[in-house]
């Protein structure tokens, strides 16, 4: 009989460990991050009036498709939500359902003063804040921000992916269900 080698151990577990180790190693990690950064496709969810500047940003003068970002049809095939402008109560439910349907890794950009802290409509009874509904990565100030600001936000997000890796969101916000706070008012 000639000499040979026999493997003793759990093949499944070993493969998983090797894969995890390989993903953190330089060539594969770079390729994965490059692929994610240059295919940030936003979904066709228009939340409010900053959508006009989003439309202008994907148009001839400020072409954002050269950074790899293409607005596409369904939440299952895209990985970016851009919240433009005010989130009302009805639209917050829709945004949350859309965000939950997206596949990881996913990103969120909040555009405009209304998405940061209410903006002009801060004391309206039908407006909620964006970061209470879905976890936000990048905020863009302005009312409305210029399309160049949106281009800069996409570039910042790309750099962030390259430097920090694919972001993992705050687990607490993901796990809690959306409960919009009760409407309170005072009777005279």
């Amino acid at each position: 009989m000639e000499g040979g080698l026999v493997f003793i151990g759990d093949l499944d577990l070993t493969t998983r460990k090797v894969l995890k180790w390989l993903m953190e190693r330089k060539p594969i990690k770079d390729i994965v991050e490059w692929a994610n950064a240059f295919s940030l496709w936003p979904v066709h969810l228009m939340t409010s009036c900053c959508g006009v500047e989003l439309g202008a940003a994907y148009a001839p003068r400020f072409d954002l498709e050269r950074y790899g970002s293409l607005p596409f049809v369904s939440p299952r095939q895209t990985n970016l939500i851009i919240i433009e402008g005010t989130l009302t109560r009805k639209m917050a439910r829709v945004a949350r359902i859309t965000w939950e349907q997206m596949v990881d890794p996913k990103f969120v950009i909040a555009m405009g003063a209304c998405a940061i802290d209410g903006g002009l409509f801060w004391n309206s009874y039908n407006v909620v804040r964006a970061n209470e509904v879905i976890p936000v990565d990048i905020y863009i100030p302005g009312c409305p921000p210029r399309p160049e600001a949106l281009a800069r936000a996409i570039l910042m997000l790309q750099q962030r992916i390259k430097s920090r890796g694919i972001t993992r969101h705050d687990l607490e916000l993901i796990e809690k269900n959306l409960k919009l706070e009760k409407v309170e008012f005072a009777r005279k």
Partner: protein
Amino acid sequence: MASQQPQASQQRLALGKALEELATRLSEHLKGVATKVEADKRSMVINIEVDRSRILEAAKILSSLGFDHVKSLTGVDYPDKGVIELMVHIGSYSRGLRRIMAILRSKLDRKDPRAPTLTQIWPSSEFQEREAWEMFGIVFEGHPDLRRLLLPEEFEGLWPGRKDFEIPTRKAGEAEEPWK
């Protein structure tokens, strides 16, 4: 340019006189139905005030005179007088009347505001009556489909258009004009 100024003011005087004539003719048509018909020359409107029981009659008369669509239908809340005033802006696409608008007003009781629906006479008021219902609580009797239009379901029963639904203002001490 200078010669156009007196021309413009003459035109305005002539328009004002025509508006007053129209108001007197309208008040003849609406004799017994309207409590007050007066012209407002600055805004080129004729204010018509009716009692709640005569809204449909007045609407039929106005519709037969040539006013064919409703531009806006809403309420104005006066809590200290205990009324909600129903305010309907009516306009016309016909040549003679397209320059002016008529405003039909009626005072409804604030505790139980009810009004007859105007959709049989002017179909353009269907969605506006839905909004008036969800903002002020005015029930339009005979409306084919009275449900909320703009707000989600947690606002059922709260009438946000009324004055006792308060929204947050800046706190005391924070000046309205912060540069002072």
